[in-house]
């Protein structure tokens, strides 16, 4: 019976962690019985390793035979894009079922779309044309009124500007008149001196 802190066979097969292995190694150094047991394990392994592997007497190989190959549906299912195949198959089945179940359109009851379109066109023309004319006339009147107001405002601005210019001209003329009077008085004063 081994007195090793851990199973010697676990240590022999390298199953212990590093710390545990070191403890067993230290124990082996000081325990002749366990050292002898470990040596017997080693000798057993050496003896077992003397048995050599043999080559198989015949090589094993298969030929391409459909009996041994997977069924086509299994190969398809086991292939990489099998989900894609499954999705496509389900989509195709859904389309087929939908086409089968959906009722066919009743051709006899189909409306005369050309006549309806012509009638709708005539009605639209009858109602739209007067409304368009009224809208155009209203728009033209509104435009003329706007133009008249703009012209009137421009005339008022022009008259105000003209009045302001007239006042400014009058004031300027008065200013220069006064200057001229002053110069004349000064000239007469200079001529009267001896």
């Amino acid at each position: 019976m081994s007195c090793s802190p851990y199973d010697l066979k676990d240590f022999f097969f390298g199953e212990l962690e590093a710390g545990q292995g070191r403890q067993v190694e230290e124990h082996l150094e000081g325990c002749p019985e366990c050292r002898e047991e470990f040596e017997r394990l080693r000798l057993t392994r050496v003896a077992l390793d003397s048995l050599r592997e043999e080559e198989p007497p015949r090589r094993i190989a298969f030929v391409s035979d459909t009996v041994f190959e997977p069924r086509w549906w299994r190969a398809l299912w086991q292939s990489g894009p099998r989900l894609g195949f499954a999705s496509a198959a389900m989509l195709a089945a859904a389309i087929l079922v939908h086409a089968w179940v959906r009722p066919a359109p009743n051709v006899a009851l189909a409306p005369d779309t050309a006549a309806i379109e012509a009638r709708v066109g005539a009605e639209v023309a009858r109602r739209i044309a007067p409304a368009v004319q009224a809208a155009v006339a209203e728009s033209e009147a509104r435009q003329a009124n706007n133009t008249k107001e703009l012209v009137s405002a421009a005339q008022r601005r022009f008259e105000l500007q003209r009045d302001a210019d007239r006042v400014a001209f009058a004031e300027t003329l008065t200013y220069f008149q006064k200057k001229l009077n002053v110069l004349q008085l000064a000239s007469a004063d200079l001529g009267a001196r001896p």
Binding site: L43, S50, L51, E54, A61, F62, F68, E69, S79, G80
Partner: protein, 182 residues
């Protein structure tokens, strides 16, 4: 190791699409391991070869059930395990096991061929599930988790079988001092 795994994945994908050539390449990588596993378990070459062919055929037909291509090895050996034990059940129960050696374990020296025979004899005396645990661990190098996957049992059961088998083998094989073999 990673490249090998990726290549196996590619071959599995090809085989799933019905590519026999890709699958044959996959077989060539694994057949020696599977054959030797079966040979040491059932201890008959013809049976081992027949079972190997059956294993690879079933694997091909059930590739679609392999969820993770990276686990192809344990999955393949799980099929091999089922095939081997199906055969062993058809045979008479472990009565075909060799009788234990007479006399106590001795320390003696052997030629390599004698050692090989002694190892085969010692393995043959184990119960089939113990022998299988030794084969998977010692000769096939599986991890305990992978062995549990192959055998469909807990890791603790795997360890128990292996360690019991190792104790039995140790009593027989450890005293042998080989001559010409270290």
């Amino acid at each position: 190791m990673i490249f090998r795994e990726v290549e196996d994945r590619d071959l599995i994908a090809k085989a799933r699409r019905g590519g026999v050539e890709g699958y044959n390449l996959l077989i060539s990588r694994w057949e020696k391991r599977v054959f030797n596993y079966l040979l040491r378990l059932v201890r008959d070459r013809e049976d081992a070869l027949d079972l190997s062919q059956e294993v690879f055929l079933k694997a091909y037909q059930n590739l679609g059930k392999l969820e993770d291509a990276g686990r192809f090895g344990p999955w393949l050996f799980r099929i091999a395990h089922n095939e081997a034990f199906s055969l062993l059940r058809r045979r008479k129960p472990e009565g075909d096991a060799e009788p234990p050696p007479t006399g106590e374990a001795r320390s003696f020296r052997m030629f390599p061929i004698e050692l090989t025979l002694a190892v085969e004899s010692a393995l043959a005396r184990l119960a089939a599930d113990q022998r299988e645990a030794v084969i998977l661990k010692i000769y096939q190098g599986f991890k305990f988790e992978e062995m549990a996957e192959v055998l469909s049992c807990p890791v603790s059961t795997v360890k128990s079988r292996l360690y019991t088998a190792l104790d039995l083998l140790k009593d027989t094989l450890a005293p042998i001092q080989t001559r010409g073999v270290q």
